[in-house]
């Protein structure tokens, strides 16, 4: 028995989202599974490889519809990635699906050598990423995957923020002949404001402002967007950037918006070390622009026990927390 998960959003945040006209979507993980099933139905070279993870990957319908196109390896993540690389090398379009905490840690050497270095264009799908597993604790959190994978050559890293980005990222990964890491959480998400068509190398500018910039990815983007809306009521306008691709990072757009900002806050469901925030910091420092700058994420400590919502709120990843942090940063 588990306690009912508290909402990720306060009443005020839900009102703000409604004010922006945002609609409720599904979990990205479900969108991933649906999109993959559609792709695989029309192309028998598309395979899902799972490590006893078809349930958590929402791939039970896939396995029922296309039993020949799902390869089960059992609870063996190193073998998952090695087998995926081998399948890819003989022309299969492989999606290797496993909880991000195991995929990007236990199988890290297989990702580095068998996928990236050997240039086998596997799509690695890290599911239930970040703190999606909530109170199951540190063994099941992946707060290191951006950092670990950013240090590997020839690997794209994409963390979609809503159902649109999730679907487009899956399609892009299927079409790219390159190693890709896709990172999905399992919370039901708001649909973010529509933008121009998705480009895998580009950030999406969801909102524009003159004072400050939020740069976020994955399931934290909505909180940055709501914070920007709240700040506007106080006369402060912010850019809000969704950066699904942390590597390569769209430096051109990030820098052009950061250059005109008095303050920049990055937000990610990842440890503050080595993730989106440090990637942006490196860009900004090397471009010799100098906004006030803050990395919001999970600090380098044992993560507080709780649901994803509890953990986000505890570390200030909420409309309220992020708007307050921005106000503090903008104080003269």
């Amino acid at each position: 028995m588990s306690a009912p998960a508290p909402s990720l959003f306060t009443e005020a945040a839900i009102k703000t989202a409604e004010g922006l006209g945002l609609t409720k979507g599904r979990a990205n993980l479900e969108v991933f599974a649906d999109t993959l099933l559609t792709l695989a139905t029309s192309d028998k070279n598309v395979l899902a490889v799972t490590s006893d993870s078809r349930g958590s990957g929402k791939l039970v319908p896939f396995g029922q519809a296309l039993p020949e196109q799902i390869v089960e390896v059992g609870i063996a993540e190193q073998n998952l990635v090695g087998i995926a690389a081998g399948l890819s090398s003989v022309g299969k379009n492989v999606f290797a699906v496993s909880p991000a905490c195991f995929l990007a840690a236990r199988a890290l050497e297989q990702i580095k050598n068998d996928v990236a270095y050997s240039d086998n264009p596997v799509t690695l799908v890290g599911i239930s990423a970040g703190v999606s597993y909530g109170a199951l604790g540190t063994t099941h959190h992946s707060l290191h995957d951006f950092a670990a994978l950013r240090a590997i050559n020839n690997l794209r890293i994409i963390a979609p923020a809503d159902n649109f980005e999730a679907r487009e990222a899956v399609l892009a990964a299927a079409n790219l002949q390159e190693p890709v890491y896709l990172r999905f959480g399992k919370a039901a998400l708001y649909n973010l404001p529509a933008t121009d068509r998705f480009h895998v190398d580009k950030v999406r500018v969801l909102r524009q402002g003159k004072d400050a910039t939020f740069i976020a990815n994955g399931e934290t983007v909505i909180h940055a967007l709501l914070a920007a809306a709240l700040l506007e009521q106080r006369g402060i306008t912010c850019n809000v950037i969704s950066a699904p691709s942390i590597k390569p990072l769209d430096g051109e757009t990030v820098l052009s918006l950061a250059a005109d900002s008095k303050a920049v806050i990055t937000v990610e469901e990842h440890m503050v070390n080595g993730g989106l925030g440090e990637a942006c910091a490196a860009l900004i420092a090397q471009a010799a622009i100098n906004p006030k700058f803050k990395i919001m994420g999970i600090p380098d400590e044992y993560t507080v026990t709780g649901s994803q919502a509890d953990i986000f709120r505890h570390y200030g990843i909420s409309m309220e927390g992020l708007s307050e942090t921005m106000l503090g940063l903008l104080e003269p």
């Binding site: 063996a76 090695g82 087998i83 995926a84 003989v90 297989q110 050598n113």
Partner: protein, 278 residues
């Protein structure tokens, strides 16, 4: 097809060339390259349907060298197969060379980048599953070291290969009984090895890994329908050079000028002793 005698000659030439390039580059995994020479010889000259012309064909046989450190003998054999000129090995391990000290796909004839141990069998299992899905008739071979078998990922793949009845997969263990620290039996005993593979659901045969006929017989066809094949090839580390045989320091020892001259003289004598006909 080349005769057994001709292959015997090639093995000696491969060993001579392997030592030549290790000496030239000043680095290399000498003992393990010499222990797997006959295995590579039989694979490339008798078993594998692979050539420079067919290397991009999806139906080619695959060879994945999991014990990637024994790369010098592989590079010599690939040169002999016509994938490149052997003289290109003059750049082995030199600044900006494509010839890294482990196999990489930048070298014609190399399937996958290997060298970290415990990776070749999972990749090979994936290739074999792909072959089964496509009803392709290619075979997949991987070469493992005996010390390498302490890596747990091998046993994950061993389980999966039996589960998926990968009779298109053959794992050859270059069982030279030594690894960098010393005797495998003392470092981390993996015996009884044949029984282990059997227990995992593999068909197993133990052979003399330097015997051309035994190698040919063991590798020509899968051992058993519905099971992956494990060939336990009993070998001698440093094989063919008296002072290197079964001596641990030659794991990655590079011969001095005197040692190199003696090694060449032993291999050349053995070549001279072969019948003229081959």
């Amino acid at each position: 097809m080349l005769s057994d005698q001709q292959l015997a000659r090639k093995s000696l030439e491969y060993r001579r060339d392997t030592l030549r390039w290790i000496k030239h580059s000043g680095a290399g995994h000498t003992g393990g390259s010499l222990s797997c020479t006959d295995i590579l010889n039989v694979l490339y000259n008798r078993i594998l349907r692979v050539s420079p012309q067919s290397f991009s064909s999806p139906t080619r046989d695959r060879y994945i060298q999991s014990k990637g450190h024994s790369v010098e003998s592989l590079f010599v054999v690939l040169a002999d197969q016509g994938f490149y000129q052997q003289e290109e090995l003059a750049s082995l391990c030199r600044y900006e060379s494509h010839f890294v000290g482990h196999p990489t796909k930048k070298i014609p004839g190399v399937e996958q980048n290997t060298g970290a141990l415990g990776h070749g069998l999972p990749i090979s299992a994936g290739i074999a599953i792909g072959g089964k899905l496509d009803n392709a008739d290619f075979r997949v071979f991987t070469l493992l070291g005996d010390g390498e078998l302490a890596e747990g990922s091998n046993w994950e793949a061993a389980m999966a290969a039996a589960h998926y009845k990968l009779d298109n997969l053959t794992a050859i263990v270059d069982c030279n009984t030594l690894q960098i620290t010393g005797h495998t039996a003392n470092v981390m005993n993996n015996e009884p090895l044949a029984e282990k593979f059997q227990a995992f659901g593999w068909a197993v045969r133990s052979i003399d890994g330097h015997d051309i006929r035994e190698l040919t017989a063991a590798l020509s066809t899968p051992l058993e329908t519905g099971k992956p094949s494990a060939i336990i090839a009993r070998t001698v580390k440093g094989k063919g050079v008296s002072f290197m045989e079964n001596v641990g320091k030659w794991h990655h020892g590079v011969p001095s000028d005197e040692e190199y001259a003696q090694a060449l003289s032993e291999l050349n004598s053995a070549l001279k002793a072969l019948p003229e006909t081959c």
